[in-house]
């Protein structure tokens, strides 16, 4: 047989099992690098593939152990047994418990946590409630509150293709300048979401996860908070991010020109030029 050099990426994928509220979840996780754990949380209706450019960046992985897991019901993480008995709805409580259970089972010590969109919301909750545990939080396209602007029922009904409508909805949140290949890769993840899962995630993002009444309680001297949002994000707009930052004393907010709601996957090189200085600051 002819010998071929296989060019593997640095990313390793595997599964672990966690238990939350007496329910077992089989979680798919990818990681690369060594050093300070950098736990990455994907957006609503997508999965950890969004972070492949961060996982594969050796400038980052030489100092950070980058970890991205798929939430249950997303990507390669199965829904739990008996999922068919009720519609999926992500609550604030379940979301936080899954993250903390993952961290405990994965034996992460003082991780940095970086989440995008709904992940950017939950990290604010964690900055307040787990300030002694997390070294810093980075909210990508993060805000403490949003006003819904469309009817979520369109996302989950039998006469509309779920994958296509999810992709078409979020295509509005990608900047026109973002490279086509990454735009369509980002949209592909949305086309692959399970029925009703994006809608169920938005229950947290648009309703249950509101945090504007508590964001002012975050102590950034214990847990630094960074907010990074894209100019073209029409969901978590720059105004909403800046309003959130204004409520968190000591939070550092930056608006990235020419990028949208999925900075790490829609325009990875541009995003990296903004995330490197933040990671450098955390390292110091």
């Amino acid at each position: 047989m002819k010998s071929i050099n296989i060019e593997f990426e640095d990313i390793i994928g595997r599964y672990l099992n966690i238990n939350v509220d007496n329910t077992n979840y089989r979680i798919y996780v990818e990681e690369a690098g060594q050093g300070i754990p950098l736990l990455c949380l994907h957006t609503a209706g997508s999965d950890g593939r969004q972070f492949r450019h961060i996982l594969n960046d050796q400038k980052i992985t030489k100092n950070f152990r980058v970890i991205a897991f798929d939430l249950p019901w997303h990507g390669k993480s199965n829904p739990p047994e008996d999922y068919e008995l009720k519609d999926y709805k992500l609550t604030t409580s379940l979301y936080k418990k899954i993250i903390m259970s993952f961290c405990e089972n994965y034996k992460l010590n003082e991780p940095v946590i970086m989440g995008c969109s709904m992940g950017g919301r939950v990290v604010l909750h964690l900055a307040l409630e787990q300030s002694n545990y997390f070294k810093a939080v980075i909210a990508l396209e993060g805000s403490d509150k949003l006003e819904p602007y469309y009817d979520l029922d369109w996302l989950y009904r039998p006469d509309i293709h779920g994958g296509l409508i999810q992709s078409a909805f979020v295509s509005s949140q990608i900047a026109p300048q973002s490279p086509d290949k990454f735009r369509h890769e980002t949209l592909w993840h949305y086309m692959q979401g399970g029925p009703g899962i994006f809608k169920g995630d938005l229950y947290f993002y648009w309703h249950d996860g509101d945090f504007d009444d508590r964001s002012g309680l975050i102590d950034t001297s214990k847990c630094p908070v960074y907010l990074l949002s894209g100019e073209y994000d029409c969901s978590c707009t720059p105004e909403r991010t800046l309003a959130t930052a204004s409520r968190i004393k000591g939070a550092k907010a930056t608006i990235i020109p020419g990028i949208g709601h999925f900075p790490m996957s829609e325009n990875p090189e541009l995003f990296k030029s903004y995330i490197y200085p933040i990671l450098d600051e955390i390292l110091k």
């Binding site: 602007y149 006469d159 949140q173 026109p176 100019e231």
Partner: protein, 122 residues
């Protein structure tokens, strides 16, 4: 801003767009300021464009925006809030009304059809 006729030629010469809209058979109203146009679509192709003069002819749904709004949407690189009809909807820059089911069933097709009037899109 290019003429409606030029836009329709662009739509009908875009094979991929027609392919994506092959299940679309309806007439919808596209409004630019004071002017409404009825676009009749058969299997993704625009087969007629009529200036709306009879108000009882409304089409299945209507998408309306001011002329300046569409001009910004149709720039090669539209500014934020004008880059996509859902972003424009969120900012209340356009109005969408009527039976939205076929619109939602073919959302990316309609987004691409409208955006195809951008000068950079062939």
């Amino acid at each position: 801003m290019q003429s409606i006729e030029t836009w329709i030629v662009k739509i009908n010469s875009n094979k991929r767009l027609i392919e994506k809209g092959r299940w679309v058979n309806l007439t919808f109203t596209f409004g630019i300021g004071q002017n409404d146009y009825l676009l009749e679509i058969i299997e993704g192709k625009v087969i007629s464009t009529t200036k709306r003069t009879i108000l009882t002819r409304s089409g299945t749904f209507k998408i309306h925006g001011e002329k300046i709004v569409w001009e910004k949407h149709w720039l090669n690189i539209p500014p934020r809030d004008y880059h996509d009809i859902f972003a424009m909807l969120a900012k209340k820059l356009i109005i969408i009304d009527g039976d939205l089911t076929p619109f939602m069933q073919n959302l990316q097709y309609f987004k691409d059809l409208i955006a195809s009037n951008r000068q950079s899109i062939k």
